[in-house]
């Protein structure tokens, strides 16, 4: 294998690289996860158009599952909107933290508002790791293509799940639905070098279920603010201590 000469060659294009990146594990996982969502849609008595519109416009699985589940048990629109809003508030800090990596003065402002729609756990976690290694001028195209491929995978997964509902044995469906949280967990386990991040993840994981039991509606948001702030403060204290010692 001629590895040396290849290293000096420029990669074909950021968009092509993104397509290749997305079509690997991230695309497969999201497709499979949305197969689970598609069958949930059908089992809840909803049609394929409803499922596809939910995926196209919501594009964040936990909020979509909450919406379909609550609708199926006859919850009011206000209850559903509140539950979805509280589940998806995480998207706000996620967008805030990825935007500086995408900053490009040549691009019109609306691009960023459009790209924000494809910020979700998978694109965010992979983007936060991948983007810093790219040239600043290539990042927008990489992220747009990456998001577009993942978005297409979720649409295809939703449709496939809808048609496969009832055909796939129940344990397999459960395994596919379970793939989503497991993949997220491993994405975070993959990169645990930053102390503040490790503290926030650990405190959030421990506090989250407890506060969820105490206050099902607001538990998630309360955890994010409390555990996140605590992690931030602890990290500062630890940083100051090492600085004093050094």
């Amino acid at each position: 294998m001629p590895s040396r000469p290849l290293r000096t060659r420029r990669p074909p294009s950021p968009a092509l690289a993104a397509v290749r990146d997305a079509l690997g594990i991230p695309g497969v996982v999201l497709f499979a996860s949305y197969v689970g969502f598609g069958s949930l849609v059908r089992e809840s008595g909803l049609g394929l158009p409803e499922g596809l519109v939910s995926t196209a416009t919501g594009w964040a699985l936990p909020g979509q599952v909450a919406l379909v589940e609550l609708y199926a048990v006859g919850a009011s629109i206000v209850t559903i909107a509140l539950a979805v809003a509280l589940t998806n508030t995480r998207l706000l800090p996620m967008v805030v933290t990825i935007m500086p990596l995408l900053r490009d003065d040549r691009a019109p402002r609306w691009w960023f508002y459009a790209l924000a729609h494809v910020v979700a756990v998978t694109s965010w976690a992979n983007g936060m790791r991948r983007l810093p290694a790219l040239a600043p001028g290539d990042r927008l195209r990489w992220f747009a293509a990456y998001g577009a491929v993942l978005w297409s995978a979720t649409m295809a997964g939703t449709a496939a799940g809808f048609f496969l509902a009832g055909l796939v044995p129940k344990p397999v469906t459960l395994g596919l639905v379970f793939l989503n949280p497991v993949y997220f967990l491993l994405l975070f386990a993959e990169d645990l070098r930053d102390r503040a991040k490790v503290l926030a993840l650990g405190l959030g994981a421990v506090t989250g279920p407890v506060l969820h039991l105490a206050a099902p509606a607001y538990g998630l948001l309360a955890t994010g603010l409390a555990a996140g702030t605590l992690a931030f403060l602890l990290d500062r204290i630890l940083a100051r201590r090492t600085r004093h010692r050094g």
């Binding site: 967008v95 960023f112 044995p169 129940k170 459960l174 949280p181 967990l185 405190l203 994981a205 996140g228």
Partner: protein, 113 residues
């Protein structure tokens, strides 16, 4: 319930509140210095929210996973983590192992507790 027109209003409301979080994120990002303390705090909140969400999805799930036992889900997570670390931090291997373990447990009906 499938032909109830309310579902479209529900979907529109869901889309609106979801995009509101994303759009607000873009609007705010221009005002926060990426090198500053506020930015770091926002990052911590994001990771805490994500960890809480994943923990909730595993321990207290909504949706189809409610049919599985907590012990089954924990065992599947352990299998995923064990294979992930054994396979030199391979996300693909870990995710496949976790899914396979969940399918096997759901199929057999076995649960540690």
């Amino acid at each position: 319930m499938a032909d109830s027109p309310a579902i479209w209003a529900v979907l529109a409301a869901g889309a609106a509140v979801t995009y509101a979080a994303r759009g607000l994120g873009v609007a705010l990002s221009g005002r926060i210095d990426p090198a500053g303390a506020v930015f770091r705090w926002v990052g911590c909140v994001a990771y805490a929210l994500l960890a809480a969400l994943v923990a909730r999805m595993i321990l207290l799930p909504v949706g189809p996973l409610q049919e599985t036992a907590t012990g089954q889900r924990l065992l599947a997570v352990l299998a995923a983590l064990a294979v992930f670390y054994a396979a030199r931090r391979s996300v693909a291997a870990g995710a496949a192992a976790g899914t396979a373990m969940m399918i096997a447990l759901a199929w057999s009906g076995l649960s540690p507790f």
